[in-house]
C-alpha cells in the first residue's frame, strides 16, 4: 500500500504527497490519524461531512499548494451542510487566486479533532547522518522559539523518552495550569513507530506530522505532509 502510493506519485512526477496520501502512509506506520476523505465536488463534500459527523475541517488538496492555510485553503469548525457548501466555494476561489495553474484534486474533509496539546513530529535527512527525527510542541513553539529536539534514526526507547523531555516546553506536556496532561508513553510509542517506518521507507525525504494532538489517553495526527526523494 505504502509502496503503491509512493510509486504512483513518482510515476506522475510528484514528490509532494497530498494530505490524504500522506495520512495513508502515516496510518500504515501504525500512527493514529484523523480519518480524512477526499471530496471532489461541493455535493460530495457535504455528503462526506454528514457521514463523518459535524463539525468538520476542510482543506484544499493540491500537489501544487504546500502551505494550505497561508492561501486560505483551510476552513475549520464547519457546523452544518450550509457552512460546508460555502467553505467549499471559498476554498476553490482562494486556490485559483493563489495559483491559476494549480492541479486541484478537491478538498479533504475530516471531523474536527478534540483539542489536545499540540505537538509536532517530523523527519528530515541529514547529508552526513541520514534520517533524523524531530519532536517539539506545535505552533509558535516550533515556528518562533524553535524549541525542538532531534534524534538520529533508528531510535531506541531511551532516545524517544529523552528527546521528549529535552524540550524547554516539556512542563506543558505534564499538564500546566490545570490543562490535561499528555500521555508521554503514547508519544514515545509514536516516535518509535515513526523511526521504524522511516528506517524501512528510504523513498521518503522529509515529513511533518503537524499538528499531533496529545491527550491524556493517547495522541492522534491531525495533519501530515510527506515529501519523497525525487527519482535519480
Amino acid at each position: 500500500m505504502a509502496n503503491k502510493i509512493i510509486t504512483d506519485a513518482l510515476k506522475n512526477g510528484r514528490t509532494v504527497l497530498t494530505e490524504v496520501e500522506s495520512k495513508q502512509l502515516v496510518a500504515e506506520a501504525g500512527i493514529p490519524v484523523i480519518k480524512t476523505k477526499l471530496a471532489k465536488s461541493k455535493a460530495e463534500a457535504i455528503e462526506v461531512s454528514k457521514k463523518l459527523g459535524f463539525p468538520v475541517a476542510m482543506k484544499i488538496v493540491s500537489p501544487d499548494i504546500i502551505h494550505k492555510s497561508d492561501i486560505g485553503g483551510v476552513k475549520l469548525n464547519l457546523a452544518n451542510a450550509t457552512q460546508v457548501g460555502r467553505a467549499y466555494a471559498e476554498i476553490m476561489a482562494a486556490a485559483k487566486k493563489a495559483n491559476k495553474k494549480a492541479d486541484i484534486q478537491g478538498v479533504s474533509v475530516q471531523k474536527m479533532a478534540k483539542p489536545g496539546v499540540e505537538v509536532i513530529m517530523g523527519m528530515s535527512k541529514d547529508a552526513q547522518f541520514g534520517p533524523v527525527l524531530m519532536f517539539g510542541l506545535g505552533g509558535v513553539f516550533v515556528e518562533v522559539l524553535k524549541d525542538v529536539a532531534f534524534r538520529i534514526v533508528p531510535l531506541v526507547k531511551r532516545d524517544a523518552s529523552q528527546m521528549i523531555r529535552e524540550i524547554k516546553g516539556y512542563p506543558l506536556l505534564e499538564g500546566y495550569r490545570g490543562q490535561e496532561p499528555a500521555n508521554i508513553a503514547a508519544l514515545e510509542d509514536l516516535l518509535l513507530k515513526l523511526s521504524a517506518f522511516v528506517d524501512k521507507t528510504p523513498q521518503i525525504k522529509e515529513m511533518d506530522l503537524n499538528p499531533i494532538f496529545a491527550y491524556k489517553n493517547g495522541a492522534v495526527a491531525v495533519d501530515a505532509r510527506v515529501i519523497l526523494e525525487s527519482q535519480a
Binding site: 509532494v16 504546500i66 509536532i120 517530523g122 523527519m123 528530515s124 541529514d126 547529508a127 552526513q128 547522518f129 541520514g130 533524523v132 527525527l133 524531530m134 516550533v142 515556528e143 524553535k146 525542538v148 529536539a149 532531534f150 534524534r151 538520529i152 531511551r158 532516545d159 523518552s161 529523552q162 523531555r165 529535552e166 524547554k168 516539556y170 522529509e206 515529513m207 511533518d208 503537524n210 505532509r225 515529501i227
Partner: protein, 482 residues
C-alpha cells in the same frame, strides 16, 4: 565486526605498536624533527634519504640511512614520509612492495589545498593504497604517538610511562598541543593519532581500533568532518557505552539554511545534528582545547558524580559570592546543609570573619590561624558526611602561596587536602586562580597534581567541567537532562 574492519584493526595494531620505524625524507630544514622525535623509540629506527647533503646530519644522530625503503634489511612496521608531494606515489609503491604495516604522510599539499594537482595526487596514492590494502595515515598529519614505546611525533613529547587516554585528532597541531599540555595536567596517553585528510583511514577506523584497545580507557576526538556519517554514528554509540568518548567538533558555526519543504528540514541544521549525535550516543561535547584538558582531567581524577548538589569552600567573602555565582550559572545546585552539620560546625568553627552556610567562607586569615588545618579537616568531613552534598569544591587563591616555599619539606596544608581527597568518596576538585603571578598559580597546581588532586584555573572552568561530568554520569544512566 566485518572481516575488513577486523583486518584493519589488526594492521592498526602493528602501526600503533611498531617494532621498527623508517623515516623517509627527514632533513635539516625540518631540524631533523622526525629522527629526533624517535630518539626515544624502543625499536629500530631507519632513515631513508637520497640527498647527500642531508647524510652527515642523519649520521650525527646515529641513525642508519638507506637510499630506498627496499634496501632496509629487516621488516618495517611504520613509515613516516616527509617527502615532496610529487614523490608520494613512489613512496606508496615502495611501502606496498616492502609490505610495511602502514605509512603516515607528514607531506601536505593534497586535497586540502583544493587544487587540481593536490586532489589528483591524493586520488593517486589513495587508489594505489586501496588496491594493495595498505594503510595510509593522513596525508597532511603527524601520525601516531605511543609514549609507552617512545614513538613520538615531536621531540618534546613525554615518553616512558603510558597512560589510559587516547586522542584522535584531524589536526596535527591539536594532537601535539593536547599531548604536550596533558603532561602538565596529569594526563598520560595510551595512544594518539592525527589523521589529516583521512584518505584511507577516517576517525571511525581509529575509534573502532581503540574500542578494544585495553590500555585505552578514555577517548578524546577532534573532528572537522566525517566520511561515512552512519558508520561513525554506530561506532560512537557502541564505544561510548564502554569508555567515555569526548567529541570536539571543529567548524561548528551554522551553515546557511537549506532549501526545504518541511519544518523539520528547516530546523535540522548540520551543527544541531552533530550536537544531537554526541548527546544521543552519551558522548561528551567539547568546544575547545581547554575543555578537552579539563574534562579528561576530571574523568581521570574526580570520582563519578552521583548528583548536582555542590558543597563549596572559599577563602573569602568576595570569593564565596563569586564561586557560588559561577557554579549556579553552570546549572549546579549549592544547597544548604542539614541541621546536624550546622550543629557540628558550631562546635568547632572559630574562624573570625568566616561563615559557614554554603559556601564555607574560611576567610583570608585562615592560613595564619592556630587551628587552621584541623578546622579544614573538620569542614571537609562535614561536607563528606552531609547527605545534601554530592560534590565538594575547594578554592585556593594565590595572593601569597598557600603552601610552604620550602619545596624539600612536606607541606601540612597540601597533606591535609591530599589526605581528604584520598579518604573521600565524593567527587572533589580544587580551583586555583592566579592573582598577580601566573607562575605561582602554576606551581600550586603542579604540587596539587603531583598528589593526584585536580585543580582548575578559575571558577567558571571548574564549574563547567563539573557540570559536564554530572550530566555525563546522569545521562549515561538514562536520566533526563534539560
Amino acid at each position: 565486526m566485518n572481516k575488513s574492519a577486523e583486518s584493519t584493526t589488526k594492521k592498526l595494531d602493528r602501526v600503533f605498536n611498531p617494532r621498527s620505524v623508517a623515516v623517509v625524507g627527514d632533513k635539516q630544514a625540518l631540524g631533523y624533527m622526525w629522527l629526533r622525535s624517535l630518539s626515544s623509540f624502543k625499536g629500530k629506527v631507519y632513515s631513508v634519504q637520497i640527498d647527500p647533503q642531508e647524510l652527515p646530519g642523519i649520521a650525527e644522530l646515529g641513525v642508519q640511512n638507506y637510499l630506498s625503503l627496499m634496501d632496509i634489511p629487516g621488516p618495517v612496521d611504520y613509515v613516516i614520509a616527509a617527502v615532496p608531494r610529487a614523490v608520494a606515489p613512489r613512496i606508496v609503491k615502495d611501502c606496498i612492495q616492502k609490505e610495511v604495516g602502514g605509512v603516515c604522510f607528514f607531506t601536505s599539499g593534497f586535497a586540502e589545498t583544493n587544487t587540481e594537482e593536490g586532489i589528483r595526487l591524493q586520488d593517486e596514492i589513495t587508489n594505489l593504497a586501496r588496491q594493495a590494502d595498505l594503510l595510509i595515515i593522513g596525508p597532511n598529519c603527524v601520525g601516531v604517538y605511543n609514549p609507552k614505546i617512545g614513538l613520538r611525533h615531536n621531540p618534546i613529547q613525554v615518553y616512558g610511562n603510558g597512560g589510559s587516554v587516547a586522542f584522535i585528532a584531524q589536526s596535527g597541531t591539536h594532537a601535539t598541543l593536547f599531548t604536550l599540555a596533558g603532561a602538565r595536567h596529569g594526563i598520560k596517553f595510551s595512544k594518539s593519532v592525527s589523521y589529516g585528510n583521512a584518505a584511507i583511514l577516517d576517525s571511525t577506523d581509529y575509534l573502532d581500533y581503540l574500542r578494544t584497545d585495553e590500555d585505552t580507557k578514555i577517548i578524546g576526538m577532534y573532528i572537522e568532518a566525517v566520511k561515512d556519517g552512519r558508520r561513525f554514528f554506530r561506532c560512537v554509540r557502541d564505544v561510548a557505552v564502554r569508555k567515555p568518548v569526548l567529541i570536539w567538533k571543529g567548524g561548528e558555526s551554522e551553515e546557511g539554511a537549506r532549501a526545504t519543504a518541511s519544518h523539520t528540514g528547516a530546523l535540522a541544521q548540520s551543527n544541531i545534528i552533530w550536537q544531537t549525535l554526541i548527546r544521543q550516543c552519551s558522548a561528551i561535547r567539547i568546544e575547545n582545547l581547554d575543555e578537552m584538558i579539563d574534562t579528561v582531567k576530571a574523568l581521570l581524577y574526580i570520582k563519578p558524580a552521583r548528583g548536582d548538589r555542590i558543597g563549596l569552600i572559599a577563602m573569602s567573602g568576595g570569593q564565596s559570592v563569586a564561586i557560588t555565582d559561577a557554579f549556579a550559572k553552570a546549572g549546579l545546585k549549592i544547597p544548604l546543609l542539614s541541621q546536624s552539620s550546622y550543629d557540628r560546625l558550631a562546635s568547632f568553627f572559630d574562624i573570625i570573619g568566616g561563615s559557614y552556610r554554603n559556601p564555607f567562607d574560611i576567610s583570608s586569615s585562615f592560613l595564619m590561624s592556630e587551628n587552621a588545618l584541623s578546622n579544614l579537616d573538620n569542614m571537609f568531613d562535614v561536607m563528606e558526611q552531609d547527605p545534601n552534598i554530592d560534590c565538594i569544591v575547594l578554592e585556593l587563591f594565590t595572593i601569597i602561596s598557600p603552601f610552604s616555599q620550602d619545596l624539600g619539606k612536606p607541606d601540612p596544608l597540601l597533606d591535609t587536602i591530599s589526605g581528604f581527597k584520598n579518604r573521600s568518596k565524593k567527587p572533589f576538585m580544587t580551583i586555583v586562580s592566579a592573582a598577580h603571578r601566573e607562575t605561582l598559580a602554576l606551581e600550586v597546581r603542579d604540587r596539587l597534581m603531583a598528589k593526584g588532586i585536580p585543580s582548575f584555573p578559575g571558577f567558571e572552568r571548574g564549574a563547567k567541567t563539573l557540570k559536564r561530568l554530572v550530566d555525563y554520569y546522569r545521562f549515561r544512566q538514562g536520566q533526563y537532562l534539560n
